[in-house]
Structure formats: structure tokens, C-alpha cells
């Protein structure tokens, strides 16, 4: 008798909880911001492809599907840490096979050498190069992400990647970096 009672009681309890869970599963489903968008928002959007994917969004999709989070040199450790936070995994050092973290750079075209081939214009992922066939090209510096994808296609090697200049308004208070003048003591 106790056997049957136990079976009935637990069976009914389980049925009831199952019903509740089934109801809750449908009723309270939360539509969250898709994880890919959240990852994409953390990536630096340089669209440089150093991660092995054509652009930041494809890499975001790859991370959502379980790829490593340490393949983005432009984002550097800060991005890796933010991704680790988001994905609930441990932060790793940047995978050096994809490149090293570097200072921010922009592309500059040595305009007198440019032959106007438009190859760099096609290579630029963010349309930051202006110019037309047979005309001199130029980089819109504040739109350039520093991806350096335009450097290789240039047939005359007239594109340089130069570090973003430090100005008083974006200076990071590195007191050690200030060159100090030496004065010969008059005494």
C-alpha cells in the first residue's frame, strides 16, 4: 500500500511541477540581446581580419559558437578581458600568432608617390580612402581604423602606418614620457 501511495504522491507532485515548468518555460521566456550583438559591441571594429575572419561581426559569430576570445590584436587585453567577462570564461593572454598588441595607428598615403590605382580604396573596409582612378588618393584620418589592409595592395608602397599623434587632449598623463631638457649648470 505504502508503495502505491509513494508512487502516486511523487508522480502527482512531479506532474504538477512539470506543468508549472512547462507553463513558465513558454510564458516567461526572455528574449535577450543576441549574444553575437553583445560580442560585436565589444570588438574594436577595425575590420582588420587578423583574427582569421573577414571582419569583426564574423569573429563575433565565431566566438558565440565557441571560438577562442584571444584572437584580436587591435582590441588587446582590454577586449579579451571584457569578452571573458561576457562569456563567463577565463581571460587568456593574446594569441601572438594573430599579431601583437600595438599602439593605435592610422594609414597615411605619401601623396606624391600615389599613382591612383584605386586598389587601396577597394581594400579599405570602412571606405576611409578618397580618390578616383588616375587621381591622387588620400586617407580620411579620423575614419581610418588602422587595420593596415590597404598597405599590401598598394603597388608602389606609398602607404605608411603611422601612430596616432598624441595631442594635449588625448594625452594619457605618461609623465615618464616627457622629454626633459638638460641644462649645463652655470656653477
Amino acid at each position: 500500500m505504502t508503495v502505491v501511495t509513494a508512487l502516486i504522491v511523487l508522480g502527482v507532485l512531479a506532474l504538477a511541477f512539470g506543468l508549472v515548468l512547462g507553463f513558465a518555460a513558454v510564458r516567461f521566456r526572455v528574449e535577450s540581446d543576441p549574444i553575437v550583438d553583445q560580442i560585436d559591441a565589444l570588438l574594436p571594429q577595425t575590420q582588420c581580419g587578423q583574427c582569421g575572419y573577414p571582419g569583426c561581426r564574423p569573429y563575433a559569430e565565431a566566438i558565440a559558437n565557441g571560438d577562442e576570445i584571444n584572437k584580436c590584436p587591435p582590441g588587446g587585453q582590454a577586449t579579451i578581458n571584457a569578452l571573458a567577462d561576457l562569456m563567463g570564461v577565463e581571460a587568456k593572454p593574446l594569441d601572438s600568432a594573430h599579431g601583437e598588441e600595438d599602439v593605435k595607428k592610422v594609414a597615411v598615403i605619401r601623396e606624391d608617390e600615389c599613382i591612383g590605382c584605386t586598389k587601396c580604396i577597394q581594400a579599405c573596409p570602412v571606405d576611409a580612402i578618397l580618390g578616383a582612378a588616375k587621381q591622387m588618393h588620400t586617407v580620411i584620418a579620423h575614419e581610418c581604423t588602422g587595420c593596415d589592409l590597404c598597405v599590401e595592395p598598394c603597388p608602389v608602397d606609398c602607404i605608411d602606418m603611422v601612430p596616432v599623434p598624441v595631442r594635449p587632449d588625448n594625452w594619457q598623463w605618461d609623465l615618464q614620457q616627457i622629454p626633459v631638457k638638460n641644462v649645463e649648470s652655470s656653477h
Binding site: 512531479a14 511541477f17 587578423q50 582569421g52 571582419g55 584572437k71 581594400a123 587595420c147
Partner: protein, 229 residues
């Protein structure tokens, strides 16, 4: 074959439930005052882990996502209760030694953790092996912790092993030293936390040391051309 190697490595070291996942710490810290107790709990956990992993893996096809947790808990609780009853009936001496720990296993998150993280996604033989290795990893840490605490706090090793392993094991007891005033802290709960902290630190230190020594694999990554479709 490499799956098994990977599972072994994961269970014993890389993803050790006690050292890395930090799961099941509550029974772990509570019962590791001696090696014997540690070994007992470890073996019981191992047994339940293998059983529950196999069962969860076998039923995974029929369990919808929404109710998987209650089902897993039920599977584990059934396993624990059945094992407890069987031990009580047929190996009474062992049951007496382990009695209070066995119900604790139900609440051991290492087990439900494996059910959720691995067994519910893998074929039964892999799940079984995973359970075995995770259980073994857990047991090893338990025994290590129990050993350290017993040595420091009691000056002995394998004290009371005969209760767990039978009369022959009475000879295993090693009296390392006797002091008038043992360092009680080691066998009190705070001692468990402190020793556990040092074991985890030691594991991390070994990992870092190995990582520093390991040669970086030469890997060539082809950079994607974002714009050359």
C-alpha cells in the same frame, strides 16, 4: 582514443572538480579531517558520479530542456538512496563509516555539474568515463587534503582505515609523530579552508610554471581578407 585521454586529463587536472571548478566543496571541507574519511567520501562520490552520468546520458534524448534539472536531481537522488540502502544492508561496516556522508552526495554540485555540463551532451560510454575521471580527480584531492590535515592535526595517516577497508587495513595506520598538543586548527573547519587554499595555489603555481616552460607552438594564422570577395 584521444577523447578518453582528454577526459582523463580534464578530470584529473585541467578541470578538476575540486581544484578548478571548486564544486562539491561543502562535503569536501566537512569530512576531510582524515585520509580514511576522505577516501570514503571520494569513493562514494565516484560511484554515484559514474552511475548518474551513465543514466543521464542514456535518458538525455527524452528530457526536454525545461525539466532537465529536476530530472537530473531525481536521477542522482535515486542513485544515492539506492546505494545507501544497499550499503546499509550488505556492507554494514562501510556504511557505518560513511553513513553520514552518503546523503551529502546528493547535494554535491560536482555531480549535477557533470550531468549538466557533460553527460547530458555525450554518449554514455564517454559520460561514464568522464564520471570515472572526475570522480577520481575529486577523490585524489580529497585524499590529499585529508592526508595533509591528518598529518598536521593528528600526526597520523590512515587512522581508522579498518572501518572503511576491513580489518586488514588496521595495519595501514602510520603514526608519524606524537605531540602533546596537536595543531588542532588543521582538523577544524578553518584548517580545511586554509589547506585547500594552499593546494589550489600549488596547482596554479604548477600550471604557471609549466606554461612558462612550454615552448610556444609555432602557429601560422592566415589573415582573412575582409574586402577581397
Amino acid at each position: 582514443m584521444s577523447t578518453y585521454k582528454e577526459l582523463t586529463w580534464q578530470g584529473l587536472w585541467n578541470n578538476n572538480p575540486a581544484l578548478v571548478q571548486l564544486l562539491g566543496l561543502c562535503p569536501l571541507l566537512a569530512v576531510t579531517a582524515t585520509v580514511t574519511n576522505a577516501l570514503g567520501l571520494g569513493l562514494a562520490t565516484l560511484l554515484v558520479l559514474v552511475g548518474s552520468n551513465i543514466t543521464v546520458s542514456l535518458v538525455r534524448e527524452f528530457v526536454p530542456k525545461e525539466i532537465r534539472i529536476p530530472v537530473f536531481v531525481m536521477v542522482i537522488a535515486t542513485f544515492v538512496t539506492v546505494i545507501q540502502l544497499l550499503m546499509n544492508a550488505y556492507v554494514y561496516g562501510l556504511y557505518q563509516a560513511l553513513g553520514i556522508f552518503i546523503p551529502l552526495i546528493v547535494t554535491n554540485c560536482a555531480i549535477i555539474g557533470r550531468a549538466e555540463a557533460y553527460a547530458s551532451k555525450s554518449p554514455w560510454h564517454h559520460a561514464a568515463f568522464d564520471g570515472l575521471m572526475m570522480g577520481l580527480g575529486f577523490t585524489l584531492v580529497l585524499v590529499l587534503l585529508g592526508g595533509i590535515r591528518e598529518i598536521i592535526g593528528n600526526g597520523t595517516l590512515f587512522d581508522g582505515a579498518n572501518l572503511l577497508l576491513g580489518e586488514w587495513a588496521a595495519g595501514l595506520r602510520i603514526e608519524l609523530f606524537t605531540v602533546d598538543y596537536p595543531l588542532l586548527l588543521a582538523i577544524l573547519p578553518p584548517g580545511a579552508f586554509i589547506v585547500m587554499g594552499f593546494i589550489i595555489a600549488g596547482k596554479n603555481w604548477i600550471d604557471q610554471y609549466r606554461a612558462a616552460r612550454a615552448e610556444k607552438p609555432e602557429k601560422v594564422v592566415t589573415r582573412a581578407r575582409v574586402t577581397s570577395q
